[in-house]
Assembly symmetry: C2
């Protein structure tokens, strides 16, 4: 997706430790036009899959899920990272390790929002080690629902997550796949 | 907003302690059509204010901010509840007390995303005690920017927040204002 690559080239910042900061347009400030194009592109790629729900994980995934679900005209469900008093009913949880924050936590969805008849499009902003995405896949599987596809905005193609999730048989489509970002120079994988 | 009142009447659940659960359509699962109407309504109410940015707080506010910002065609900024390694630059913070979770935390925005020339529409899902909203107003004031208006989806009109924020001179508009919810019966304030 050229518009996204352009935003990454011009507005992202590379930090030591393979950190890619996209907070000027994706996960702190959000470029609303780019976000709309991301939603449209996911719709184009997955529109034939019979998607009935878009699933993501709070917080920055929510913007992407909303922009995408508008095209499909289906509900969004976002998994919660933090147990709240407001969650009740039967819960589906999976442990997720955040390498950015250096901790492991449970992501949780109320089971009633993922009935077995759902065909779920999972979307998220980043795919690197794949822990959050793997947790979301586990939750959909445990719900007895079907993963209809996975849409990622930016995949760190040099990290392990994409391979791990694809090895489970899922169709992961990334709108920008980064091959390397050594010394601050971002190289995209031309396969995407 | 009648569509919203109808959703609250039919799909919200009242729990002891004045807890109103709207997780089937607003803050866990999101009804994408209703969300679009919320965004459209905020646009109608605030379109003459010269809004240049929509500000909210993670997580459930993000969906509302995105739906609203699409109509204004301006960027979203969402304040973070949790310090992350990815935040840097000059930060604007304000303490917020969550009565649902029983703790106080800082909400934070990078200063560069709220330049003094911004006219900000603040949106959020709930207004009850007003702590989160008050923190967002503090941040905009400290940024030297202007609050162009405040859009709330559901205001608990029997709680103190609305009065506190309006007493600061802000125009707070709520799409549904609840007058009382004693014994599970939700009564709306007809002024909204």
């Amino acid at each position: 997706m050229e518009l996204l690559r352009q935003a990454i080239r011009e507005r992202a910042v590379v930090r030591p430790g393979d950190v890619l900061k996209v907070d000027s347009f994706l996960n702190h400030q959000i470029d609303i036009d780019l976000l709309g194009e991301v939603g449209r592109e996911f719709y184009q790629r997955f529109k034939s899959r019979g998607i009935t729900k878009v699933l993501t994980i709070e917080a920055s995934g929510i913007a992407i899920a909303v922009a995408t679900a508008q095209y499909f005209d289906v509900p969004v469900v976002f998994a919660k990272k933090h147990q709240t008093k407001n969650l009740d009913g039967e819960l589906l949880s999976a442990p997720v390790t955040s390498f950015t924050h250096g901790r492991t936590y449970d992501v949780t969805v109320e089971k009633k929002f993922l009935p077995p008849e759902d065909t779920v499009l999972i979307v998220d902003d980043f795919l690197a080690k794949g822990s959050a995405l793997s947790g979301l896949c586990d939750i959909v599987e445990r719900a007895g629902a079907k993963v209809g596809g996975i849409g990622i905005v930016i995949e760190k193609g040099f990290d392990v997550g994409g391979g791990l999730i694809r090895a489970r048989g899922y169709d992961v489509q990334s709108l920008a796949r980064i091959k390397s970002m050594n010394e601050g120079r971002i190289v995209f994988d031309d396969a995407e």
